[in-house]
Symmetry: C2
Subunit: 341 residues, 2 copies
Amino acid sequence: MAAALRARLARPPSQPVFTLTVEVYPREVRIVVALGGNALIGPDGNATPEAQTEAVRAATPALAALAVEHELVITHGNGPQVGNLLVKNEIAAAVVPPVPLDWCGAQTQATIGTLLLDALDDEFERTGARKRLATLVTRTLVDRDDPGFQHPTKPIGRYLPFAEAKPLLDHGQTWLDHGAKGWRRVVASPEPLEVLDAPAVSALLAAGFAVVAGGGGGVPTIRTTDEHGHRRLTGVQAVIDKDLTAAVLAQALDADLLVVATDVDHAMVGYGTPDQRPLEEVTVAELRRHAADGEFGAGGMGPKVEAVCRFTGRTGHRSAITSLHRIGEAAAGTAGTRVRP
Amino acid sequence: MAAALRARLARPPSQPVFTLTVEVYPREVRIVVALGGNALIGPDGNATPEAQTEAVRAATPALAALAVEHELVITHGNGPQVGNLLVKNEIAAAVVPPVPLDWCGAQTQATIGTLLLDALDDEFERTGARKRLATLVTRTLVDRDDPGFQHPTKPIGRYLPFAEAKPLLDHGQTWLDHGAKGWRRVVASPEPLEVLDAPAVSALLAAGFAVVAGGGGGVPTIRTTDEHGHRRLTGVQAVIDKDLTAAVLAQALDADLLVVATDVDHAMVGYGTPDQRPLEEVTVAELRRHAADGEFGAGGMGPKVEAVCRFTGRTGHRSAITSLHRIGEAAAGTAGTRVRP
């Protein structure tokens, strides 16, 4: 009726004074990528600032491509970097008070984080991506009664002759005798229980940021109680496996995918034998069976396999292990070892 | 009519199936507090990890009280802490590649940030406050042509005899001869132009976090252009005044108040004379006049006065200079030197 009257009076169709369009999209795919500490130094193990800067720049295009299309959290290792800081501590101890291992870990979050901020911001600028990046200092809660503290097993830093290791032993550190190579410090590698700063990661993701967090597995932190009975969070000298922290963080963030980036395209079975073959699509049960058969070893691939098995086993969401330059393909399901429940 | 009919039929009043209540509040008061680096070490200048931890714990109740009532950003100095890192670099240089000054600054953001995270989280837990804290690694843009780079003036690190300073001079550093005290390094102290990570601070504030950011004035960063003509952000060896960075950050965040926390309750005029008096309520013009009369000196109070004059002069919002334990009163306008336009 009203429309007919308008047509008769040659009035234009009624226009809204104000239109509010609310577009509701499903949440973007949320991905956590764990970068190996060795991917962030020179190919020859060179950890100078220049080599670290170059390595981060080389890693940037693959990370930026994921960040632009998805919600992205980047965690990273810090083994070589933290090793350097420990050596400085030792050499300068007579002049400058040494800082504990957890402080060294925090320090590497900031230096590696700054390199990633600069490199990724430049890449977003170059490609015209409307994406921002933030780096969060991140703590990871561990159990003060974790067996790792009684029986430390994770070797860190350099080998020293006994005479030089002795004062550090006397200072309460644990060092093991490696015969001709010398003595080397071992520290606890406790289980990551909770990423204490995950809520900040979540808030930044929701605001459209890609986020660097959980570097070096997070600053190891225990809950204690002070003399008034109040909770006290305290950093503790330990090294948390960064892939296991990535699994805990990815679960807390309800990530859709965890990608462990390393220096090989796949986890392998029969490695070094004539029957060697890459794993492509695998289930958690298959991967756990291979691990039980001793296929992956404790040092390199073992913790990565454990991390993806935990994440996918607990959440039912997919994970992958692949090389840094294949993380996009791994996310798309066309490269790497892809793990399903 | 309907109500009358309901009454007649003894039916209960109509109930909504579903009530959605949207409460819209004005934004909380947003405060940026700048803590002096000396407030975060022992009273005797002791910068051991234990002394730093104690100092941060002592600063916590005043900060937590502000954080619970308002939106709060905490920036902090890092002079003593960065000095220690530089000395370690120098002593260990033959064994471990030294890292540049901007990396040392980043490192202190992470260590001081972690201490603040632990201490404030514990305080929020103790008081039942529903508040969270996050620490952001923060870069500050400076001009690569800032005159400070040609004529560095900011002394850092320790005094060394010439023989020990010589290799560092040869390595391109600038050191000045202080006669009997020895030689000491000087670096550029460029003007902070922009806090590159302010958007992340803003996103976290909006999500209800108190935020530690801009530590040590931010990681000094310049914009350069690479061989392909693309922008390249690069850390640069310099020290940015943390109070001036706090002013830039507070302006970018549209803060309502900037509080510079130091070790005295007020800025003073006639300091050390019989006419000495504290400044309480002052305008920017009055404060600038006192500064021009040389009341504040270049070392201590000068940059703090400059920072509050810039912030309040540019934004018309209030600022204050006071001691750490009076920051709450200063925010309420009952203590400290309060600056109005």
